[in-house]
């Protein structure tokens, strides 16, 4: 597999009608969104123009799109890795927070002042924190058979509260607000395009995408996929199921952790409650829509951040209630899912034709 193969594959995909169905469905969602907007008495044309401009109309706006892509891509990859092994990790949000903690701890220590090492160790520790926190449900699952959907969902809340505790006491900066101290200069991700908030984290996310792409080519990646595809067959083939589950969730949590680390080192430069507005939850949708393929996840993550950035700009400019933004995102998702009906129908027609 080389870069060229990827390009060829993508080109072949683009030739397939199926590839465009989700985009057509998403457009339909905008039509429904327009009806709702119209009902609120807003100039629909103007609203969508602002939305488009919000995402593409300025360097800053587009920089923010890519900034959100960084978070959504990393968490999306995290969830997709777990899903490939049929481990339904709904806990990426909590793992993100723990990763943010890991990154912060490096940043506020002496290491945070050493150029190069600070960023590198920050990423490593956010990976480890996210991974260890994801290993809790993993171990509970392989040792005690605790369903990971429950444990990962519930552990999100535990992570939020734990971070809240730390920010009100042990790692609170002197002063009034419940923030951690600011991380050292060397720990802060450099802005790669002046005049925007886009930082080098997008490169980390791109590397992670490539990493996950090649993960599936490795032996352990193959085992993980096999366990996910057919656990009985995998066991029969002598694969170590326990190991696969543990490794999968560790990688998954680690990637989500890096997303959290990036939010601290690239955006806030301090740890703060509410550092993520639910990226880890949206990631589940992104992983599913991207069909758990790293390239697919990247495309969907980009599309969603365009949608989020644009719709937020719109409601800020027009005074539309913020709930509209969420409703529109949900509508897009519903329509994309419904669009799959069309894909199924296309598939059936082909089969029918071959007969």
């Amino acid at each position: 597999m080389s870069v060229l193969d990827v390009v060829t594959q993508t080109r072949n995909k683009l030739r397939d009608v199926k590839f465009f169905v989700p985009f057509a469905s998403a457009s339909l969602a905008f039509v429904v969104g327009a009806i709702i907007l119209g009902a609120t008495g807003v100039d629909v044309g103007k609203a969508y123009t602002i939305m488009f401009e919000g995402a593409f109309g300025s360097a800053f706006g587009f920089g923010d799109v890519l900034l959100k892509t960084t978070s959504l891509l990393l968490t999306g990859l995290a969830v997709s890795v777990a899903f490939r092994c049929k481990q339904w990790n709904i806990g990426a949000e909590g793992q993100l927070y723990m990763g943010a903690l890991g990154g912060t701890l490096v940043g506020i220590s002496v290491v945070g002042l050493i150029p190069g090492l600070a960023i590198f160790l920050g990423i490593i520790l956010s990976f480890i924190f996210g991974a260890v926190f994801a290993l809790v449900p993993a171990v509970l699952k392989v040792k005690f058979g605790v369903n990971e959907v429950i444990s990962t969902v519930l552990l999100n809340f535990v992570a939020f509260l734990f971070i809240s505790f730390l920010l009100h006491g042990p790692i609170k900066a002197p002063g009034f607000n419940p923030y951690s101290p600011e991380i050292g200069n060397a720990s802060q991700m450099p802005i790669i395009f002046p005049g925007t908030r886009l930082h080098a984290g997008i490169i980390v996310a791109a590397l992670a995408t490539v990493g996950v792409y090649y993960l599936w080519k490795t032996k352990i990646g193959f085992e993980i996929k096999s366990v996910g595809a057919n656990i009985k067959a995998a066991r029969y083939a002598g694969m170590n199921i326990t190991k696969s589950v543990l490794v999968t969730l560790a990688i998954s949590g680690g990637l989500a952790g890096i997303a959290g680390g990036m939010l601290v080192s690239g955006v806030q430069h301090v740890l703060i409650e509410g550092i993520s507005p639910g990226y880890g939850f949206i990631a589940v949708i992104i992983a599913l829509l991207g069909r758990q393929h790293p390239i697919g996840v990247a495309i969907v993550a980009f599309f969603f951040s365009v949608l989020m950035t644009g719709s937020e700009t719109m409601y800020r400019s027009l005074g539309v209630p913020s709930a509209f933004s969420m409703t529109l995102q949900a509508l897009v998702l519903v329509f994309v899912l419904v669009g799959q009906l069309f894909v199924v129908w296309l598939g059936k027609r082909k089969v029918g034709g071959a007969r």
């Binding site: 597999m1 080389s2 870069v3 990827v6 593409f56 109309g57 300025s58 360097a59 800053f60 587009f62 920089g63 923010d64 890519l66 978070s71 509260l161 809240s164 009100h168 002063g175 009034f176 607000n177 419940p178 790669i192 395009f193 005049g195 925007t196 908030r197 886009l198 997008i202 490169i203 791109a206 590397l207 995408t209 490539v210 990493g211 090649y214 080519k217 490795t218 939010l263 955006v267 806030q268 301090v270 703060i272 409650e273 509410g274 550092i275 993520s276 507005p277 937020e312 700009t313 409601y315 800020r316 400019s317 005074g319 209630p321 913020s322």
Partner: protein, 480 residues
């Protein structure tokens, strides 16, 4: 494995190139966003919701008032996620907004950052603690208002227990509750004040259960600073027929027979002040700390006041009202200080012996407890603590009066006299890290027995002479 890494880095570089070049194409579009128009452009931005019936709604109404009163257009943005705060500020600054009112302390640091890049935009952070050339903060002394709530509750409680429910343990909220405790204790030193934190500002169900649990533990006044969770606290009070105190705005309408009063943040006034600074071109980049005022629309700069009792007016005895008024004036006149306290305190006390007399000294501390107190007759009182921290001590005047110097070890520590009555005065100081003892000196410290006898004898002598002379005067008067 190595070849994978190589390929990975190639792909990464290509991806990065694609991204950067796409940025370059997009960048010129930015200029299209030209600004114009003479009308003052105002924006209100917050991470809260405008429909929360509290903190956010009050801000929304105050900004609406700027529209109706002066005819300005105000843009609104609510429910902004923390990572999007900076982007939001930047968007408005870029669109040429003259004044951005940022509602919530989380907006402080991003405001300074964005303000640097847009010197023509003025940002006012409500409840912030930051400032720069074009960024100011309004940080209301809310604890002065809640001090009065605590005093009111202490005067009217039947069970001797007051309660508070907080949304989250932000320093700002700790400060509010510390003021409440100070007020309560001033009126009734042995009062019990219990508190609960919900970890949640929008969970009224939880707020209600927390309130019910407090009532079960004997509280008959519930005070909340928990935004929409607080609605549940008021419901709990309503159900169990005890009183509640509202927060941020006059919440009497939520439960007219339950909400005795509320501490109100006069955002109408605050936002107007912010606007006037911009209109009259006298913007000051500093932190304003307006305090208590007598009521809505009172002259002066205060923006915190207690709401009227409304239909519960008849339930408040006249002497309580009079005392409350007196305390309000004392706070306004700085006769009683309600300092900012950002750490939760706990009660401390100690006894000191001198001869057969035992004196009890009480106080609060955010750090250590008192290990021992010794009276160094004629000079000072010395306290040994087990830890450093913010300390407040109430010292009976019979023990020490006219405090002059507070020393930690051999270093002089700054102190503040918070309140003073005929019988005692309360001082506040910070015991610095690394020191554990404090020596407080005053003009008169309770004297030793020997001195005491001398003083008593002297007093008697003076008294006798006085009486004799007085008698003489009387006798003289009697003469025709």
């Amino acid at each position: 494995m190595k070849s994978y890494l190589k390929k990975a880095s190639v792909v990464a570089v290509i991806a990065a190139l694609v991204l950067v070049s796409s940025m370059a194409i997009v960048a010129p579009l930015q200029i299209a966003n030209a600004q114009g128009g003479k009308q003052l452009k105002i924006a209100l931005v917050t991470d809260a919701l405008f429909s929360d019936g509290g903190w956010g709604a009050a801000a929304h109404d105050a900004a609406k008032l700027l529209e109706t009163k002066y005819g300005y257009q105000v843009a609104y943005a609510e429910s902004i996620a923390i990572p999007d705060i900076e982007a939001t500020l930047r968007q408005y600054a870029q669109d040429g907004y003259d004044l951005i009112i940022a509602h919530g302390f989380q907006w402080g640091d991003p405001a300074v950052k964005v303000g640097k890049d847009y010197p023509n935009t003025k940002i006012v952070v409500f409840t912030g603690l930051v400032s720069s050339n074009n960024v100011a903060s309004i940080f209301p002394m809310q604890q002065e208002g809640t001090f009065l709530l605590g005093a009111l509750g202490a005067m009217m409680t039947k069970t001797g227990t007051l309660a508070y429910v907080g949304g989250d343990q932000y320093p700002n909220i700790i400060n509010i509750f510390e003021g409440y405790k100070q007020g309560a204790k001033l009126v009734k030193p042995d009062i019990k004040v219990i508190g609960t934190y919900l970890g949640d500002f929008d969970n009224p169900a939880k707020g209600k259960e927390a309130g019910l649990a407090q009532i079960n533990n004997g509280a008959d006044f519930l005070f909340h600073v928990a935004d929409t969770s607080g609605h549940g606290v008021i419901q709990a009070a309503k159900e169990k027929k005890v009183y509640a105190f509202g927060a941020v705005l006059d919440q009497s309408a939520l439960a007219p027979d339950t909400v005795l009063t509320s501490f109100v943040l006069d955002m109408d006034k605050a936002f107007d002040q912010a606007l006037q600074m911009v209109v009259q071109n006298k913007f000051e980049g500093k932190i304003f700390k307006p305090g208590i005022e007598v009521g809505k629309g009172a002259s002066g700069d205060g923006i915190v006041y207690l709401a009227p009792f409304n239909q519960l007016d008849s339930k408040v005895p006249a002497d309580v009202k009079a005392k409350l008024q007196e305390l309000t004036q004392a706070v306004i006149d700085k006769k009683i200080l309600v300092p900012e306290r950002i750490k939760t305190t706990s009660d401390i006390s100690a006894t000191a012996k001198l001869g057969d007399q035992t004196y009890t000294i009480t106080g609060i501390s955010s750090g250590g407890k008192i290990n021992s107190a010794t009276i160094n007759s004629g000079k000072s009182i010395k306290f040994e603590f087990d830890k450093a921290g913010d300390i407040e001590l109430t010292l009976p005047k019979s023990v020490i009066d006219g405090i002059t110097v507070v020393k930690a070890g051999d270093k002089t520590v700054e102190f503040q006299e918070i309140s003073s009555s005929d019988s005692a005065s309360t001082i506040k100081f910070v015991l610095p890290e690394g020191s554990s003892s404090v020596e407080i000196s005053g003009t008169t410290v309770v004297p030793e027995f020997g001195t005491l006898v001398a003083i008593v004898l002297a007093a008697l002598l003076v008294g006798v002479i006085g009486i004799v002379r007085f008698k003489g005067a009387l006798l003289n008067l009697g003469r025709p």
